[in-house]
Amino acid sequence: MSDAQTPAADHADTPVLGTGYAGKARSRGSFSAFIYLAGPVGVLLLFFAGPLGILALYSFQERSRTGDGSWTISNYVNALRPQYVETALNTLVIAVLSMVLLLVIAYPLAYLLAFKVGRWEVPLLLALALSDELNPLIRIYAWRTVLGRNGLVNTVLTQLRLIDQPLDWLIFTKFAVVVVLTASWLPYAVIPLYAAMKTIDRRVLEAARDLGAGWWTTFRSVVFPLTAAGFLATIVIVFIPIISDFAAPALVGGTSGRMLASVTEDLFLGRGEWGIGSALTFVLLAASGLVVWFSYKLTDLSRLATHR
């Protein structure tokens, strides 16, 4: 795209670099910025806002194989059917359990990475990034080797004669979904916490210790307050993909690990019930929006985005 170069050629279009240029740039900046943004914003308006708009539209229309497209709110009423509500609650339980488990693991991990591992810091960070760059479906499916009937856990426990029968609740259950979701999203949970930890001056921790604070006091009155923003960022970043996860319940969830995404997929691709499907999708979106809004109220999200 040649958009990128055209405005830059014009000497008069001065980007704002320091405060010195601000006055002049304010008037001309709009035009240059417009040319730079035409591509990205155009793509999003068409292929991002478009799909969301259609989804909103269809959620208020009669849309099924037999439906005609007249206006209705029956999709939202139908979305409150007991089977959907039950799945929604199941989704919430799984999401909350995974979140708790994630934070319990990610928080100390971020602390170790930031302060305790020395020269292993960068290799460990890159290992986190690497795990995320493996295929998620393969990572999820591979958990069958650990949790499956003939998997690692059952085999070890049987060999140690701790159990006679393989445990049957390890796989194709809610438990399996929680474990797998936690493993899948761990890298994303650690990074914002790690970023927040890195802003803590090591000398502050030393000062706390010199003043006689134990590890709990140090944590409660120094580390936690300074990383609270990272804590919230983690919740936002991880909760949204978890409540809408499709692959984990499909591959290791069985019937007790069913989540909303499976129902949505079935409504769209299986039963052709686009109206109810759209309404349910919007409920999911609203739930995500609520979490973002809540966190936004609690902290300054834009500050988190640039980590300053």
Partner: protein
């Protein structure tokens, strides 16, 4: 550990204990992240159709079977093609939006910044489903184009975020100095700002390529009759007798991914070390 014993232990002993605890914890995390895939790789050589213990003896027959399955290679080729187009397009859109949002002041800047970041907080399922409805309402046939477009929508905002973070960190004075020394705006961008952004662009490329190559849920809704590799894996997992073949090809693909990604990160790290830049900043930026 009781309080009494902790007092009795010298500080070095306690240090050793906490070191041991730390090592166990990190090993646990390592297992959670990579253990299952490693075990899967071992079982891909197991002479049994059941995924599990005991190990019945080594065989390469599942690999031979996988090599003879044309759908695997067709789907891998599709995924590579899509990612190869999505990556440069996303980098270009990410770069132009990041420059505009960090280097210019204009009305609606805050709104547009939020709008460009929005796809990062909308569930991929919602984007996938919405795209399906959108493409069918606009009569755009599902296929490589629709997969590619929806991948660009989810991936380029990530590049925008990484590049904006780096542009904020860069010294604006360098750019300013270039202008003062007589560089045109285009020269300042090409000779000063872009070279400083190269490592971030490379890191963004790694992330965007993996997001596209690995994406399942968005492709699932926008692919029509096309098969990307994740879609092939998902549909094949439903057929029990083909599972050993999935184990084999999954192992192969994971090994290649590890080699490529580790190689790329190492190369990037070396370049950044030479320039005195810190790779941790890029990781945090994500």
């Amino acid at each position: 550990m009781t309080t009494g014993s902790s007092v009795a232990l010298g500080s070095t002993a306690r240090g050793r204990l906490s070191l041991a605890f730390r090592t166990v914890f990190l090993a646990f995390v390592g297992f959670v992240l990579f253990g299952p895939v490693v075990i899967l790789a071992v079982f891909s050589l197991n002479d049994s159709i059941i995924l599990g213990f005991p190990f019945k003896g080594a065989t390469t027959s599942w690999y031979v079977q996988a090599f003879r399955e044309p759908n695997i290679w067709a789907s891998l080729w599709t995924s590579l093609k899509v990612a190869a187009v999505v990556t440069p397009v996303s980098l270009l859109l990410g770069l132009t939006s990041a420059i505009a949002l960090t280097r210019f002041r204009f009305r609606l800047r805050g709104t547009i910044t939020a709008f460009v970041a929005l796809p990062l907080v909308i569930p991929w399922l919602v984007i996938g489903v919405g795209s399906l409805l959108f493409f069918s309402a606009t009569d755009i046939p599902l296929g490589l184009f629709t997969i590619g477009v929806s991948h660009v929508v989810i991936a380029f905002p990530l590049a925008t975020a990484l590049l904006s973070a780096q542009l904020y960190r860069l010294e604006p004075h360098l750019h300013e100095a270039a202008l003062d020394l007589g560089a045109t705006e285009r020269e300042a961008l090409r000779l000063v700002v872009l070279p400083l952004l190269v490592p971030t662009l490379a890191a963004s490329a790694i992330f965007v390529f993996s997001w596209s190559f690995n994406n399942f849920i968005v492709s699932f809704f926008t692919a029509g009759f096309e098969n990307t590799f994740p879609i092939w894996v998902f549909s094949t997992l439903r057929r029990a007798r083909d599972l050993p073949m999935v184990n084999a090809i999954s192992t192969l693909v994971s090994v290649v991914q590890v080699i490529v990604v580790v190689g790329a990160w190492q190369a990037l790290r070396r370049v950044m070390d030479r320039r005195g830049q810190d790779i941790r900043e890029i990781v945090i930026g994500s």
